[in-house]
């Protein structure tokens, strides 16, 4: 791999990578089982430079912001490299957000250019939010049909300037990306990630899970997600490895891709890992009884033989059929984005498939701790990565306190939010809002959150305040959304749910009509943001002088209620 200590910026490292492995394959793109594209590092460079020149011709200079809204595909990475080549700041936005949310973040980020896919652009351009993002000067859309109505956008593929672009250097402390960790409904949290954040994180991660030419990484998590950006782009590229993109994430194509492309690494969120587990278990359950017993016996042998460390070659021999289904070359499944149930991790490890679970957050530059598998521990999120200082703040009698992080991977701050930044990074320590403790062997264990938020199995951060918008003007005296575990701490990261706390008007009854109205508004939210129950509270909410709800105080009062009896399911 490249010696990243020598580099000042993501763009500089990527530029060298493209020149170091010109004939190695860097990208494979498949659509519904059919391979659509295969690019070498040299071909990648040839496609990226005209985009970089086009950006420069549009006046994009150091520090200007350029947004990408795309599904996982080759043009995402090509465009990102072009942006870094210009010394500009990349704003990777989630293609899964609703158009109005995307416009909100485009406006907040101050992006001058948007690069997107034609299909996404059709939805975006039809959304009324467009008028608000006056900062946007040009839009480039990929894969538009020749005579399509571009609604003011340009064809990405037609960016063919004559001259070569000029590489614009950046310093380590300059902002490489603005990554939104949440906040589309309330305060947008645009994490300003420096070049140093990425360079240091990449060195730390690849010291445990190395890439090399010939490695194939299956990119399933959206590339705007901090994990995929690191292990599905920057990490593999600085090591000469290849990234496989699927244009659709239908489970049947994902399963097929493992064997077809002999995948080495993949990163998954718990939801996808559990889906794979369900699929495998269903196949095991269908086996005739003698075969099922034999499988159990082999699994048990594998478990004892890999107790102290993984032995992939041995596991592949013992459980050949299972490993063949995964292509036979899988080194590890990296699991992140949310907490994973230990039994799911153990299920895969017992089959000889290493599962590297860890803990991290965008604000800390992705991963903070990762299991090194020496030995495998399903009950922890691993030890701190090299270069990470992790401390427990204000531990209680059981040693549990807030997890804080100090490292060169911690973000510079939240865009346009100095007060929020000051609350989050105190004396150089990032306050994660997650509760944890170290066990005697130095592994971090997590025990819930201090923050009024949930993280879904899809790895989505949902802040309670961000979903309140849909309940505005609800015909009740007042309402407030809480994470159930914020009110009633559980010392667990499991079963995180949002609740709507309602205070009715004097004499008002909780009618079926009101419940239906709440249900209808709830369904306006994307499924993972929805509240799962209603709590009726019969006293006035505590308010600040400016009439804002004192959420912490209200949560303390609500905690006196019986959790099970108080929640009315929606």
């Amino acid at each position: 791999m490249l010696d990243l200590r020598k580099y000042n910026s993501v763009g500089e490292a990527l530029r060298d990578a493209l020149e170091t492995w010109p004939t190695e394959v860097c990208l494979i793109e498949s659509d519904r089982g059919e391979e659509k594209q295969r690019l070498t590092y040299r071909q990648f460079r040839q496609q990226a430079l005209p985009i970089a020149k086009t950006l420069q011709d549009l006046g994009i200079a150091a520090g200007d912001r350029v947004a990408i809204i795309m599904t996982n595909q080759s043009k995402w990475l090509i465009s990102a490299y072009a942006i870094f080549f210009c010394g500009a700041t990349l704003v990777p936005l989630d293609f899964k957000l609703k158009p109005e949310e995307q416009w909100q973040l485009l406006k907040h980020s101050g992006a001058k250019i948007l690069i997107t896919e034609f299909g996404i652009w059709r939805q975006l351009s039809a959304s009324p939010g467009r008028a608000a993002a006056a900062n946007l000067q040009a839009i480039y859309a990929t894969e538009a049909p020749e005579n399509a109505d571009m609604a003011g956008a340009h064809h990405w593929e037609e960016a063919q300037p004559v001259n070569a672009p000029i590489f614009v250097p950046q310093q380590r402390r300059d902002i490489a990306c603005i990554v939104y960790s949440s906040g589309t409904g309330g305060t947008p949290k645009g994490c300003m990630m420096t070049h140093e954040n990425y360079l240091e994180q990449c060195m730390a991660l690849t010291s445990l899970y190395p890439f090399w030419p010939g490695v194939r990484y299956l990119s399933i998590l959206p590339t705007n997600h901090a994990i995929d950006f690191m292990v599905g782009f920057f990490g593999p590229f600085t090591c000469g490895a290849a990234v496989v993109h699927l244009r659709t994430l239908r489970p049947e194509y994902v399963r097929e891709a493992f064997a077809k492309y002999q995948i080495t690494y993949v990163s998954l969120v718990p939801l996808v890992l559990k889906n794979l587990q369900r699929g495998l278990q269903a196949r095991f359950d269908k086996l005739p009884a003698p075969k099922r017993k034999a499988l159990e016996a082999v699994r048990s042998i594998n478990r004892s033989l890999t107790k102290d460390r993984p032995r992939p070659w041995l596991s592949r021999r013992l459980l050949g059929q299972v490993h063949s289904a995964f292509g036979g070359k899988l080194e590890a499944i990296i699991v992140g984005g949310a907490f994973t149930e230990p039994q799911t991790l153990q299920f895969f490890y017992d089959l000889g498939i290493s599962v590297a679970n860890g803990y991290g957050l965008t604000e800390a530059g992705t991963a903070v701790t990762v299991n090194d598998l020496k030995p495998f521990r399903a009950d922890t999120v691993g030890k701190p990565l090299p270069g990470m200082e992790v401390a427990i703040r204000n531990p209680d009698a059981d040693g549990i306190g807030e997890v804080t992080v100090r490292s060169k991977t911690v973000m510079a701050g939240y865009l346009n939010e100095p007060a929020l930044t000051a609350e989050t990074i105190v004396d150089g320590w990032l306050r994660t809002g997650d509760m944890g403790r170290f066990d005697p062997s130095g592994h971090l264990q997590l025990f819930g959150r201090k923050k009024n938020m949930i993280v879904t199995e899809e790895g989505k951060n949902v802040y309670a305040e961000d979903v309140e918008q849909v309940f505005e003007n609800l015909l009740v005296k007042e309402f407030c959304v809480f994470a159930a575990n914020f009110i009633w701490p559980q010392r667990s990261m499991m079963n995180e749910k949002l609740l709507l706390v309602v205070h009715l008007e004097p004499g008002q009854a909780f009618t079926e009509e009101l419940k239906t109205e709440i249900g209808a508004r709830n369904s306006w939210l994307i499924n993972y943001k929805r509240v799962h129950g209603i709590v009726l509270y019969h006293e006035d909410f505590p308010l600040t002088a400016s009439l804002k709800i004192k959420r912490g105080e209200l949560a303390q009062r609500l905690a006196a209620l019986d959790r099970e009896k108080s929640i009315l399911p929606l």
Binding site: K96, K98, G119, T248, R250, P251, Y528
Partner: protein
């Protein structure tokens, strides 16, 4: 040219979902939220989409059904591709 009406498309979607998730016949309605009614996650919704694509002989990009959670809107997206 599309030979199905939106009502027919919706009905076929409801029948396919009924079979796939083994819910009682007639228990699903066009306006139902399929995440809530079927108790499925986003991956299971994608699996349902695969079956619908095969049935209707169309391809729906993932982003086009992102945020869609009721059968009626799903039917409209499919109808537009028929």
């Amino acid at each position: 040219m599309c030979m199905r009406t939106i009502e027919q498309t919706t009905q076929e979607i409801l029948e396919l979902a009924t079979k796939q998730f083994k819910v009682p016949a007639g228990s699903l309605a066009a306006g139902d939220d399929f995440y809530g009614k079927l108790g499925i996650d986003s991956l299971q919704a994608l699996e349902m989409l695969s079956r619908l694509e095969n049935h209707f002989h169309i391809e729906l990009p993932d982003y086009e059904v992102q945020g869609v959670s009721d059968f009626k809107t799903l039917a409209e997206r499919i109808q537009a591709r028929l």
